[in-house]
Amino acid sequence: MTRQLLFGNHAFCEGAIAAGVRFYAGYPITPATEIAEFMSRRMFEVDGTYIQMEDELASLNAVMGASVTGVKSVTASAGPGMALIQNELGQAVVAEIPAVVINVGRAGPGIGNATRSGQMEVMQARYGPNGECPAVAISPATVEEAFWLTIKAVNLSETLRTVVIVLAEGLLGLQRAVVDLPDYSTIEQTERPRPTMPPSEYSGAYIANELTDVPPVADFGTGYKTILNTVGIQPRGGGDGSTQGGRLENQDFTIRRLHEKILSRKDEVIMTERHQTEDAEVVYIAFGTQAQSAYLAMQQARAKSVKAGMLRLITIWPFPEDAVRECCAKARLVVVPEMNLGQVRMLVVNALADTEAKVVGVNHVDSTYILPEEILAKTEEFLP
């Protein structure tokens, strides 16, 4: 264990390296720039490869290129960069190429407010790319978690053969905290499923019989013929894959499988943190750095004898609907503080459609963090 003052953006990098990432391609963009800066040094130290590409599109494509050779790969971006790479995100998800994308959220549409923070890409992480594209998104709250969740992200991307987005914020990327870093040799690393049969019997990277299958994929250059195809209509039982505009039942199977392979592993993928939700009549549901305000608000509400509880969403996608329902079983009021105009609130409303609970939001889009007092004020305003 080494104790050090770790910068949030560097924590993502250290987590990635601890998880076995040896390729980084990126393009500088505030507030994620320090990730590229740090990786340009660290990747050489760990015998990996760093390359600064010509744009974010190229970065994610280079990451895909590196990943298909079996090298765990990461890129990072923010705001406009994330908007730009949506197509490639969809490509990587449907081609089932493991990759991790760190989104250090900045504020505002367009160029936005580069040095400031936001949580405005919740829906984008799931609905940004075309064509029902189920990337996994997880959201750290502290610098220490930025380290551990990046490891988790890399491992999930490998076992699920998908893209995992680390949905962070400028507020987290640009803070430093004291973290005890473990010895990296003790970190558990997982690998994508690889074929065990000889090359002559291997008939492609998408041979799945069940909707829950994560098919094995051979790394390029290992003697197998591997075609990674983003056409979105992977053949079910092999075939040459060259039939673009292929069979509709394959399309149906592929898209459903992309979702089902993740949803069927909920226990592994969905992470939440609950505080005093058992008897809670008021539940605060928050994610990322704003969960810290929600936690304080819960403590202060309890001090005023309000039966408050708090649910932190660590996994955002797939959305932890079951956890929301469980935690809000007795809730009369649900408050969702977030640094956008109510993206998670919408999901909570949807999850609680069958209940009586009133769902309200505390929303900042001025890049300032939400104060516990604001959450309490909202509680008092709406508590029946």
Partner: protein, 298 residues
């Protein structure tokens, strides 16, 4: 070359079906090209180039995007990423850097490589990463139905230039040289032996190699411009092409073609290796850097 090496060199006249067994992965029916398409011819030449170099096909990795050519890699036993439109150079850069042992190609169309993917193309050339970019130039977008591309000759008729292409065209080779490609060559499907040799030389080249393959689309471009049959276009390439020799000046090698079906025509292609320059290759430079950083650390 020693006598032994010469003897062991693959026979360039090996019949097609012998090559197919070694390199190709045939579809159940026909290739997914139009009858007479130049892509089938170019694909032949590419396979013969693999054979000429005696490549281990499982160590060949390619990247491509959208276009008529996109299915080509499926017909080989090599590895392939069928990625997003135009980004093949970036994918290939990632592959080569992550596994320098691979022979990395990009198979791209002219629209894919030079329109949507132009940025990635020039930057890959600038980096001199050891990949081979093979650009199948058919003067337009084929897969979407024959719209104009950056390589469409000025004046020629396409689906989106019904009154003649108003813009000037790129000379892909000149662009590649300007961007810093260390090997630039041009050939056509009407010159199959030359094409095979050129592709082989490009793949063997250490550094960024670019080959412009003039590959006809008689169905979409040819038909609208007075050359409705595959053979018309092959003859057109044969007439308009000259091999690069000392007699040809550098200016004559490049140009922005003009082709009005019934009017002004200024369209000539100089085939052959147009540029060759030894430059440090990115992968090797990074390896050196890695050594240096480790040396400093210890």
């Amino acid at each position: 070359m020693s006598a032994d090496a010469k003897k062991n060199r693959p026979d360039p006249m090996t019949p097609l079906d012998d090559l197919i067994g070694q390199y190709a992965d045939m579809p159940p029916g026909n290739f997914r090209y139009c009858p007479g398409c130049g892509l089938g011819m170019a694909q032949s030449a590419l396979m013969r180039a693999f054979h000429r170099l005696d490549l281990d096909i499982s160590q060949v990795a390619s990247a491509g995007g959208s276009g008529c050519y996109a299915v080509m890699a499926h017909y080989f036993k090599s590895n392939h990423v069928h990625g997003s439109h135009g980004r093949a150079c970036a994918v290939a850069t990632g592959m080569k850097l992550a596994n320098p042992e691979l022979t990395v190609l990009t198979l791209q169309g002219d629209g894919d490589c030079l329109a949507i993917g132009g940025n990635h193309f020039i930057h890959a050339a600038r980096r001199n990463i050891d990949i081979t970019v093979i650009c199948f130039n058919n003067f337009g977008f084929g897969d979407t139905g024959g719209q104009l591309a950056p390589t469409t000759p000025k004046g020629s008729v396409t689906e989106t230039s019904p009154f003649g292409m108003p813009e000037e065209a790129f000379d892909p080779c000149k662009l590649a040289i300007g961007a810093g490609a260390s090997f630039v060559a041009r050939s056509t499907v009407a010159h199959p032996v030359h094409l095979t040799k050129t592709l082989a030389e490009a793949i063997a080249w250490k550094g960024f190699a670019f080959v412009e393959v003039l590959q006809h689309c008689h169905v979409l471009w040819g038909r609208r411009n007075g050359m409705p049959e595959a053979m018309d276009m092959l003859n057109f390439y044969r007439e308009k092409s000259a091999f690069n020799t000392a007699a040809i000046s550098e200016e004559e090698c490049f140009g922005s073609p003009i082709y009005e079906p019934d009017g002004e025509q200024d369209i000539n292609f100089v085939l052959g290796v147009l540029h060759k320059e030894q430059r440090p290759e990115l992968g090797e430079e990074l390896a050196k850097l890695r050594q240096r950083v480790k040396g400093d650390a210890s």
